[in-house]
């Protein structure tokens, strides 16, 4: 590998959790696609918020409430700048990607989608970009359709030409597959959706941690992502949407914070984004997400991407040398989410064996059951790389896989 564009050892020291042994071995954390770890900057920002500035937001007439409101809104500004949003009002804080998609399905569905309408998804979507639409289809009589996945693990883009029609109301697609690691051409897909008069929602859960984002350039209408996969806290995520669309959409949940006025006869709504943030929000979570974004921007998403691309290439090469190991997904145009099967060792058995070597991976269907069925498998093992992983950790993974092979290929 060429010299990394940033000091990996210094980055590793920023993440206190990485400095430990698991089952007597140095921790090798290869499960960041499920949830990344947090740098000290994020942990400190949350602690500082609770120690010095916590109160409820947008309603108090006292100093702490002013500070908390400033911190919360400052996080919104930070997110907006990070993803190239035109307007901070386009940033809605939610619990995570799942809630963001449910918000769109719940709100937009009510306003715009009816019987006979179609929602076009793909066979590689995470359950969180399938099930909310199934619930909507049940309520409205709309139909779901699914773009195919090629044997190499890419979307069959020709399907859009075949499946888009004047009945299509919304196109939903994941930016990066959480099983295959493939980066989808969402800009092109958004343009195709718009040509057909449909809106485009992008699930950015696996993309936001790794790719520099620019909402203006991407051209979609909704973009959803989670804080905890990009060094931020759990329980905080973002729905970005064009302001004009947000203004047109009815509220998702009702309660405090989201109203302009309430009488016993009815209510009027607050301006966006507050219209979609009913109740006391996850204030400390937003503060932590802001700190995570500042941390990532300090290193630079472009530098992170360059390093991860190198590391992923190295991992693909090393894993490719292991006889009996099969990697799913393409070799280029991808991130370091590496799903594989190995000999006849079931993914769960692999995970148990690797865990004994201090190596954390994920095993199972990764909330991708339709994709697994499409690939004709029940489960994969998944090792996922992030900015703090090293080639030595990839070597440790390969060595442990060899042990698993030996263990399962004893004379029986």
């Amino acid at each position: 590998m060429v010299a990394p564009p940033y000091d990996i050892e210094a980055v590793r020291r920023d993440f206190p959790i990485l400095e430990q042994k698991v089952n007597g071995q140095p921790l090798v954390y290869l499960d960041s696609a499920a949830s990344s770890q947090r740098p000290r900057a994020v942990i400190d920002a949350i602690r500082r918020h609770y120690e010095t500035s916590h109160a409820n937001v947008h309603r108090g007439a006292h100093e702490l409430s002013v500070r908390a409101t400033e911190a919360y809104e400052d996080a919104r500004t930070c997110v907006a700048a990070h993803i190239g949003a035109e307007d901070t009002a386009e940033i809605v804080f939610v619990r995570g990607t799942t809630e963001a998609i449910n918000l769109v399905a719940g709100s937009l569905g009510k306003a715009r989608i009816g019987s006979g309408d179609e929602i076009l998804l793909t066979k590689m979507e995470h359950h969180s970009n399938i099930v909310p639409w199934q619930l909507l289809a049940e309520r409205t009589g709309a139909t779901l359709r699914f773009v195919d996945v090629s044997p190499e693990g890419r979307l069959v883009l020709d399907d859009y030409g075949r499946m888009l029609s004047e009945r299509t109301r919304l196109v939903g697609v994941t930016h990066v597959s959480n099983s295959l690691g493939v980066i989808n051409p969402v800009r092109e897909i958004a343009a195709l959706a718009h040509e057909a008069g449909a809106l485009c929602l992008v699930d950015g859960a696996q993309a936001a941690p790794h790719l520099a984002l620019d909402m203006g350039a991407l051209g979609c209408d909704f973009y959803a992502f989670s804080g905890h996969k990009m060094c931020g806290p759990t329980g905080i995520g973002v729905l970005w949407a064009r302001r004009a669309i947000l203004e047109e959409m009815p509220p998702y949940q009702g309660g405090g914070e989201m109203i302009a006025s309430v009488t016993l006869d009815g209510s009027t709504w607050a301006e966006v984004p507050h219209k979609f943030e009913a109740g006391t929000p996850n204030i400390a979570g937003a503060v932590g997400l802001g700190a995570a974004i500042r941390y990532l921007d300090g290193i630079g998403l472009d530098a992170i991407r360059r390093y991860e691309t190198e590391l992923t290439g190295y991992a693909l090469e090393r894993l490719g040398e292991i006889e009996g190991l099969r990697i799913y997904g393409p070799t280029d145009g991808r991130v370091g989410v590496l799903s594989f099967t190995y000999l006849d060792v079931h993914a769960h058995d692999l995970a148990t064996i690797l865990d004994q070597r201090g190596i954390a991976i994920r095993a199972g269907h990764h909330c991708n059951q339709p994709l697994m069925e499409h690939l004709g498998i029940d489960a994969t093992a998944r090792a996922s790389l992030y900015l703090y992983n090293t080639p030595q950790e990839v070597d440790a993974l390969c060595e442990a896989l060899h042990l698993a092979g030996e263990l399962f290929c004893r004379r029986v």
Binding site: H126, N178, A205, T352, C367, M372, A379, L407, R410, R411
Partner: protein, 174 residues
């Protein structure tokens, strides 16, 4: 259990493999995983049930044929990890010809074995199932080993006294 990673079968395992792993994936377990006993379906079962572990996707369909108070025939279909599939294969070997009371007692005993009751490792009634004692050191895998017996419990009624409820997995994560 063995001090080094030497298994009862006599094959010397690489010392880099922790002994707990060699105990977990014993040769007899891999043998049942690769050469399952009583796999298939019955033509006319009196009882059939399918259960899965939603967390990992392991699935077992258990069919039995009961005559009087004995289990005449037993077959299963299934997919999943070595622990879940070996355990159900081993279970079927002990069930053929067993009285329902014996089958319930077996289920209760096996659950206790998985929760670390060492004396049961010498209980011949458990047969090959004793090889799964190593699962007790891997609590997250206990539900794998119990999937087949969960099917059995579902088919032949109330668990015997003292049997712990099977663990249920947490919800999905991304």
């Amino acid at each position: 259990m063995s001090e080094h990673a030497d298994t009862p079968g006599g094959t010397s395992i690489d010392r880099r493999i922790p002994s707990a792993l060699a105990d977990l994936f014993q040769e007899v377990i891999l043998d049942h995983y690769r050469r399952p006993r009583n796999k298939g379906s019955l033509e006319a079962p009196t009882h059939t049930v399918t259960m899965n572990n939603p967390l990992c996707g392991d699935v077992i369909e258990l069919s039995i044929s009961v005559r009087g108070d004995r289990i005449d025939e037993v077959r299963y279909e299934g997919r999943g990890c070595s622990i879940s599939q070996a355990a159900v294969s081993m279970m079927t070997e002990r069930l053929k010809g067993a009285r329902l009371g014996e089958a319930r007692a077996l289920s209760a005993k096996f659950t206790r074995l998985l929760h670390g009751e060492e004396a049961l490792q010498r209980d011949e009634k458990l047969g090959d199932l004793r090889a799964l004692a190593g699962v007790s050191k891997f609590p997250v895998r206990i539900k794998c080993a119990l999937l087949g017996f969960n099917c059995l419990d579902e088919l032949i009624g109330e668990p015997a006294a003292g049997k712990r409820e099977p663990e249920t997995g947490p919800g999905e994560q991304r």
